[in-house]
């Protein structure tokens, strides 16, 4: 597996705002609750701080609220109460959340969510449309990322021509295209065999080594053990928050 690079400072495609302070945590949740249809409480008064460059795994049984928390951090949903702060800045102060998602967040889903009609290259490039990167820069970045996830030479293939593990690697390449500060992954190995899951996990470790903050939602404790810190949730609340002995 090639070495993952995520050099925001020297990258021509970096267009995001500067960090709001070295001391501010990458992610902070203050008394965050989320309810659906008034009765179902998915998150209950969550308080959480995740430092810059941390690799955090969130575990727990189905329906415990771990994906909901990830969606709130990704600005794909809004809390019923409380605040989500990224680099010390409340997400509600963002005028354009699309820009936040595009420039700060890399998203990896369990089911890859690749565009079946597009080539692998276009699947990575898609998040860079409309950025300040030129066509040449976009293409070079997409090729480079595909090479880093061991898919060099297959740029013109379609997602349907790949295995599940390979598709997830494309999804990771796409998530890294805009040099995010935050990589959010929701059960990224949930649909993979153990070998493919191992490859994907290696990629996360490589990304983490570049200084990207990673929040990985998983119900698989073996996967979670690869993180620096494991947050265990149950019934919408954090019930354990412990460091691991993973060699990061």
């Amino acid at each position: 597996m090639s070495e993952i690079t995520n050099d925001r400072a020297s990258s021509p495609v970096f267009t995001g705002p500067s960090s709001l302070g070295e001391t501010a945590p990458a992610v902070e949740l203050r008394h965050v609750s989320k309810s659906y249809e008034r009765t179902t409480r998915a998150l209950d008064q969550i308080d959480l701080r995740i430092g810059v460059g941390e690799f955090v795994a969130v575990t727990g049984p189905s329906g415990c609220g771990k994906s909901t928390m990830l969606h709130l951090i990704a600005a794909l949903d809004v809390p019923t109460s409380g605040s989500v702060l990224i680099d010390g800045r409340d997400l509600t102060s963002w005028r354009d959340l699309s820009r936040y998602r595009r420039e700060h967040v890399g998203l990896v889903f369990q089911l890859h969510n690749l565009l079946a009609s597009q080539t692998l290259l276009a699947n990575v490039e898609v998040v860079m449309f409309g950025t300040e990167a030129s066509v040449h820069e976009r293409r070079a970045r997409a090729r480079d990322l595909l090479a880093q996830v061991d898919l060099a030479g297959r740029e013109r293939r379609r997602p349907t021509q790949l295995s599940g593990g390979e598709r997830q690697r494309v999804a990771i390449a796409r998530a890294l295209a805009n040099h995010p500060t935050l990589l959010l992954a929701d059960e990224p190995t949930g649909s993979l065999d153990s070998v493919s899951a191992g490859h994907v996990l290696n990629l996360f470790n490589a990304v983490h080594a570049t200084g990207v903050t990673i929040i990985l939602v998983t119900h698989d404790l073996t996967i979670a053990a690869a993180a620096e810190r494991v947050i265990h949730m149950r019934d919408g609340a954090v019930v354990a928050d412990v460091p691991t002995t993973a060699p990061n």
Partner: protein
């Protein structure tokens, strides 16, 4: 990020999106093509008929053509000799030539043959040059002059006999007017045509030449004098004014406009319906694009761009089909001589506007609806 991306890779991304649903895209392009076919065919047919009417008016190379107001078609116009005399006496008028125009079917190739009744003394003022033989005399019976195109089409020469006005006539001369429509007809002494049509003392059109013909003010002054003195008549100085006299043409143009609007409306509904189906199929895709940072505006831009691609393909297909349809119409025997097909740039511009208009109209609502999808819900859409 806005919706103005036009780079090569973005366009390729858009085209792959269109091509991914081949059957639907082809169906949509054909729906657009069908609407364009209707609009272009009706437009070309209508403008061709208008040009045929314009050709009748322009035979006399006059500054002003005087016609009876509000007739169904210009050949139904009747102007009596008294009115003709008044026109001739109008200040500023140098000549006023009254002609009676009729049509007859000569043979299958000439179903609408133009017969012009005109006095031989008016031939020069009417712009007629006799190129073979001689003119008929004012009181001649059974004499005819053929336009050079008509003579060539019918294979007739000076001295031959030609059946018209219910009798056999001797071709005494061949003429040229420099006007294709006039040169494809025949000229007779005015009384002969009036007698055959039982319209004694009546002409169809009066072709007026003005003293200072290069001055639009002088022409307008004569127009005002004629229409003030004879409000039952109307004047035509440009092709766009034919509607003043030819009501049928006005109705025809109105029908063309109405049919075009209907075709666009039906087409837009088909496009909208297809795009809505596509929206349901591609909900997860749109949810993903929003989740990874695409703005609503960019998503609308993508969908409208895809529609525009289909519009252009449909327009090209529609224009090609309308070429074929109009060529076939030109072969219909009853339309020969009436429908002088001319493919104007205006007709094709309308075709393109139709294609773009109906696809944008039809895809606007589905595009906005796609852009308003909640990313999280769209991503979990089954």
């Amino acid at each position: 990020m806005d919706g103005s991306e036009t780079s090569v890779d973005y366009i390729a991304f858009m085209l792959r999106g269109v091509w991914a649903k081949k059957t639907r895209s082809i169906g949509l392009a054909f729906a657009v093509a069908f609407a364009v076919l209707i609009v272009v065919t009706l437009q070309v047919t209508s403008s061709s008929l208008e040009q045929s009417a314009a050709a009748v008016m322009s035979v006399g190379k006059a500054n002003i053509t005087v016609v009876q107001k509000g007739v169904a078609d210009i050949l139904s116009s009747t102007i009596d000799e008294g009115e003709l005399g008044s026109i001739r006496r109008t200040p500023g008028v140098t000549s006023a030539v009254g002609v009676l125009v009729g049509t007859q079917k000569v043979n299958a190739d000439n179903p609408v043959f133009i017969e012009i009744g005109i006095n031989p003394t008016d031939l020069a003022a009417f712009g007629v040059t006799v190129v073979a033989g001689h003119p008929y005399t004012a009181s001649a019976t059974n004499q005819v002059m053929l336009g050079w195109r008509a003579a060539a089409n019918l294979g007739l020469h000076v001295g031959d006999r030609f059946h018209a006005l219910g009798t056999w006539n001797t071709v005494v001369g061949i003429y040229s007017t420099g006007n294709a429509f006039g040169d494809a007809g025949a000229m007779f002494p005015l009384p002969a045509v009036q007698g055959y049509n039982r319209l004694p003392g009546v002409v169809t059109l009066v072709f007026v030449k003005v003293a200072n013909s290069s001055s639009s003010r002088a022409i307008n002054a004569v127009v005002r004098r004629i229409t003030y003195a004879m409000p039952q008549l109307t004047t035509i100085t440009t092709a766009s004014q034919f509607g003043r006299a030819d009501v049928t043409l006005v109705y025809l143009k109105a029908a063309v406009t109405a049919s075009s609007v209907l075709a666009i409306a039906i087409g837009a509904v088909i496009v909208g319906n297809t795009m809505l189906l596509s929206l349901f199929e591609r909900t997860r895709e749109f949810g993903l694009l929003r989740a990874v940072g695409w703005t609503r505006r960019r998503l609308i831009g993508l969908l409208l761009g895809e529609s525009l691609v289909l519009a252009l393909v449909g327009a090209a297909l529609g224009v090609a089909l309308s070429f074929a349809a109009i060529s076939l119409l030109g072969q219909v025997p009853s339309l020969r001589g009436v429908l002088h097909v001319t493919f104007s740039a205006n007709a094709f511009a309308r075709g393109l506007a139709t294609a773009v208009g109906m696809t944008i109209l039809g895809s606007l609502y589905p595009s906005i609806r796609a852009a308003r999808l909640v990313p999280l819900k769209a991503l979990s859409y089954e």
